[in-house]
Symmetry: C2
Subunit: 336 residues, 2 copies
DNA sequence: GAATTTTGGTAAAACGTTATATCAACTGTT
DNA sequence: AACAGTTGATATAACGTTTTACCAAAATTC
């Protein structure tokens, strides 16, 4: 008990060779019941756990999957992770998670760390400004990779994402159907592909329905940012009666600003969110939003990677999940 | 570019031996500027990333830290992780995270996986029902370990936690000072040490102030659970005018129930939360709560582990963070 | 110009496993 | 009693690095 036990320690304890111990533990080879018991007893007595680095190095096995995501804290991502993790565990894989915080340098470090530890595969939400060099890296390592939410520009990896444009188009149409003529969008700017797609959907409907030029507002991702943006928007464009948001947090923040200013979301200004996080249904009034199923997306994401590991030569697949409109209390006809 | 590049590939490409490549990459040994450049060029050309398993196996270095936590999704934990991660990265360590979902079996699997990959150290929120065998395992592996939030019963590991009893005592006193006589507690039962400590603090003040028998209500951890519990409590004990909660989510859920039933938190029923999550300040009315600094706790947690790695023989340390009362809108004198 | 030191590089052993080939000891068959 | 087949275990060679000891050539000293 004075040192980390290794194979040789167990072998000596059981009075056999290291090869025998290895075979017993792995269940391979021919071994008598008697020595099997002897070895097993010694192993548990010493609390032996094999050194996976050495084992994996020799056997070439890789049953660990890496996940690099842009924000673990995000509740949507948390659900995704839970889906990924459940499926992988049920198939005997293990998941190890790293947070890139949407920073290209940190992302690079994390990816390299995964490569160094020779993961079996990679699930990856690329940072918004991932440089080409990082893509080259993954290519050179021949690391089986599935991108999530944000596709890699080269399109060489499997991808799981959301029908973003269609979703915001549907949200915008819903508001237009209610009679709104002045519809703004919260969540512009940055170089994010996802945001760009969503803005496209919104702008397309604005054009098709002849609702004037799109009014895209730059916001962050949290409640605070939504609240501030709402105040700024109302000061600059009092004619706006409806709002499509890039995320539920922003939408809830916007609703909060209205309430604090004595207005009623859904009557004075209509708001549509995106994601359908738990708080969306619990807010008052409850939030109308574009719902997606993060848990199911997580499961699918894991499934795609496992398929890729099984069939390395298959052409890259693309899976897009639809978002469905959930009408609650924050949308209604325009006032007056 | 047809295979994952290894040291030998780079050596051949640069026309030198593998030893030389290793020395150049590690910056050790004596090497001429000329071959240094040659090797570096070859390495980047091939996008070479060393196999960390082999490297770590040979060198015995362990600069990766494992974190096993009971719920990544929890926003409090997310902040903690961010603190841990920042400090570790600044010291050149890498963090790998696993979610035990508070399940002893899953926890065991995750811990074993960390041991197999020979992490340098372990940060650990023990599951509520961690068996002794798991403690034996960590002991036998001589794995430097720091427990977080929930101390291991044996007390042999370093620990970072919260002054739970003192915090709930302060919350309860605050309500008593305002004149409340009927104070309930949300977040009872389960075998959780943390919950037990918090209940103790509440119960102690109830006794000291002669406020009658403690009224401890069993709840979960989320808004929904708080909302349901509030309704049930009001039906069973209409005399209750104040509430101490095990967490902000539960507290916000309780406040929500009041609002939905036409009452006003802070006037009809006073509520104190725990954690001070972002939403606490943004709720309306904003939540009075016991604030802790998860980010700072995370940094300290990482620091304690690094100290332990440096000084393996030092006696186990215990660090407890205070919670400070933040009075906002959900507490006031009792009605009438 | 012989002896010494410095420089720049390599061969080879080691890390803790798993896989392969081999071997000794039985068992059963003619 | 000689042979083949089976069983149970072991010695040994990998896996991809890092490290140590060593060596040849160049530079310095006397």
């Amino acid at each position: 008990m004075t040192e980390k036990p290794k194979l040789e320690t167990v072998a000596r304890e059981a009075g056999v060779s290291t090869a025998t111990v290895s075979q017993v533990l792995r269940g391979t080879g021919r071994i008598s019941e008697q020595t099997r018991k002897k070895v097993l007893a010694a192993a548990t007595r010493l609390h032996y756990v094999p050194d996976g680095r050495a084992a994996a190095m020799r056997s070439g096995e890789r049953r660990e999957i890496g996940l690099v995501i842009q924000a673990i804290a995000n509740p949507f991502n948390a659900e995704v992770i839970s889906g990924v993790s459940d499926l992988l565990e049920s198939e005997g894989y293990l998941l190890s998670i790293r947070d890139s915080q949407d920073d290209a340098a940190r992302e690079r470090r994390n990816l390299e760390a995964f490569i160094r530890s020779s993961r079996g595969g990679l699930l990856w939400v690329p940072a918004n400004d991932t440089p080409d060099a990082t893509l080259d890296l993954l290519r050179a390592q021949r690391m089986p990779t599935v991108t999530f939410l944000r596709p890699a520009p080269s399109g060489e990896f499997d991808h799981v994402g959301i029908r973003n444009a269609r979703a915001t188009a549907e949200a915008t149409s819903h508001l237009a159907d209610l009679g709104h003529r002045h519809i703004a969008y919260f969540g512009g700017a940055t170089t994010s592909v996802v945001r760009a797609e969503r803005i496209d959907g919104y702008a397309r409907v604005m054009g098709e329905r002849d609702l004037g030029p799109p009014l895209v507002w730059e916001t962050g991702d949290d409640k605070l940012s939504g609240r501030d943006a709402m105040r700024a928007l109302r000061a600059a464009h009092p004619e706006v009666t409806a709002l499509v948001c890039n995320g539920d947090m922003v939408a809830l923040g916007a609703a909060l600003a209205l309430i604090e200013d004595g207005l009623t979301p859904g009557r004075d200004v209509s708001i549509v969110g995106f994601d359908d996080i738990q708080d969306a249904a619990l807010a008052s009034p409850p939030l109308t939003t574009m719902a997606i199923s993060p848990y199911q997306m997580g499961r699918k994401l894991a499934r795609v990677l496992l398929d890729r590991l099984r069939e390395p030569a298959a052409p890259p697949s693309i899976t897009l999940f639809p978002a469905t409109l959930v009408v609650r209390g924050t949308t209604g006809p325009p006032p007056g």
